[in-house]
């Protein structure tokens, strides 16, 4: 007999669900996975959007359902909450490291009022400039490194 899947199984499985727009990050890395609860064999997952109009939310919801069914949960509920509002401060250190490796400058802490310069994820130079306040997805802005001349995305702080 196969034993019923546990909370730990659910959490492990959710670590394989990635953000389709920043595929290097899992939903846990990104900080949008707010809660996982298992009760009487049913699993309830609570997620929060990064931006109000984030078009990836429906896709992520579908992936969560699919993944958890795949590890044996028959009853899967995905709840979306808006409050408290997501902040880039919820991104894990692991998530920030993966972003930098992927070539995206990670968000700076929003709690620090003194703004550090944005470092180029390619060469590490702090001599960078903003090209566009808006980028390829709602969560990013476009930058350019003045040292190595490479363009790069910056995950903007909110």
């Amino acid at each position: 007999m196969v034993s019923a899947p546990t909370l730990a199984d659910a959490r492990d499985a959710l670590d394989t669900v990635h953000d389709p727009e920043v595929p290097v990050l899992t939903i846990n890395d990104l900080g949008i996975l707010r809660d996982v609860a298992v009760e009487d064999g049913a699993v309830t997952v609570t997620i929060t959007p990064t931006y109000s109009g984030c078009p990836a939310m429906d896709h992520i919801k579908g992936r969560i359902e699919e993944t958890l069914r795949g590890v044996g949960f028959a009853d899967v509920n995905v709840k979306t909450v808006l409050s408290p509002a997501w902040t880039t401060d919820w991104m894990t250190e692991e998530g920030k490291r993966k972003l930098e490796e992927f070539g995206i400058a990670s968000p700076r802490p929003t709690t620090v009022t003194l703004r550090l310069p944005i470092r180029c994820p390619h060469c590490g130079s702090k001599d960078t400039s903003e090209v566009s306040r808006f980028g390829s997805t709602a969560c990013k802005a476009l930058y350019r490194c003045n040292a190595c001349l490479e363009p790069f995305d910056h995950f903007k702080e909110i």
């Binding site: 109000s52 109009g53 909450v81 808006l82 408290p84 509002a85 306040r133 808006f134």
Partner: protein, 250 residues
């Protein structure tokens, strides 16, 4: 009078959706690629805000209408956006003037609504306020750059501002809907947003070397469903698919 909460949610949501539709018209028509991306992002945030507000409006109404029903199956008189939001894009100066006047109003509004006694409204506002702050920084950047730019950009920025100014009083004019809801801490009295708005506009216009327009021909009515001619042209395009193929989805 219908449920004031329902009307209030539609007023907030319709501002977002109609302005988003206007901004959407500009995608691929902006002066540069970065601005194409910017308007698409602004519109996306506003559509996201509208969706959350409409979904809640549907719940409050209790007749089973979804966010899509509210966006695509209402007619002109049933939309309650401020007439500013439906004004044509005009040139880039006019687009940015409209955006500045709206963002400078929407930011203090959402900021105040984060303290709303209604949990759903405060939740939507908590997300929206961060987006609005970013939008306002963007519109300020452009208004200052164009106003304090060349002779031609200054002239056009001022003309855009002059053309949009007559739709601003409506933003700060409430009626019994806001009064009823403000009394129970759910809504914000729009007149209380005038001071923060004036302060932002004054500072930006000074930096942009632009004149504050004076226009006594103020035009409102949108909050009561009495629109300018423009909304009637926006809706057929926005609603075409659901009108032609009711219930279609993908």
């Amino acid at each position: 009078m219908s449920d004031p909460l329902l009307t209030y949610l539609l007023r907030l949501g319709d501002d977002s959706l109609i302005l988003a539709q206007r901004l959407g018209e500009l995608v691929s028509h902006q002066p540069d690629l970065e601005e194409d991306i910017a308007v698409a992002n602004l519109a996306l945030d506003l559509i996201g805000q509208a969706r959350a507000l409409y979904a809640y409006a549907g719940e409050v109404e209790g007749r089973g209408r979804t966010e899509d029903d509210l966006a695509f199956l209402r007619d002109e008189r049933e939309f309650f956006n401020a007439v500013l939001c439906e004004q044509p894009n005009g040139d880039f100066g006019q687009t940015m003037a409209r955006q500045l006047l709206f963002d400078a109003y929407r930011l203090p509004l959402m900021d105040a609504l984060t303290a709303s006694a209604d949990e759903t409204i405060s939740g939507v506002a908590g997300k929206a306020v961060k987006e609005c702050r970013y939008h306002l920084q963007h519109s300020i950047t452009w208004v200052v750059r164009l106003g304090d730019g060349t002779e031609e950009s200054h002239r056009r920025m001022q003309a855009g501002l002059d053309a949009m100014w007559r739709f601003t009083d409506e933003l700060f004019t409430g009626d019994e809907v806001e009064a009823t809801l403000a009394a129970s801490g759910i809504a914000v009295d729009p007149s209380s947003l005038r001071d923060p708005w004036e302060a932002t506009i004054k500072e930006v216009l000074a930096r942009a070397t632009l004149e504050r327009p004076v226009d006594p021909r103020q035009r409102g009515g949108g909050r009561q469903g009495m629109h300018s001619e423009h909304l009637g042209h926006i809706l057929p395009e926005m609603q075409f698919l659901q009108r032609a193929y009711p219930g279609q989805s993908w």
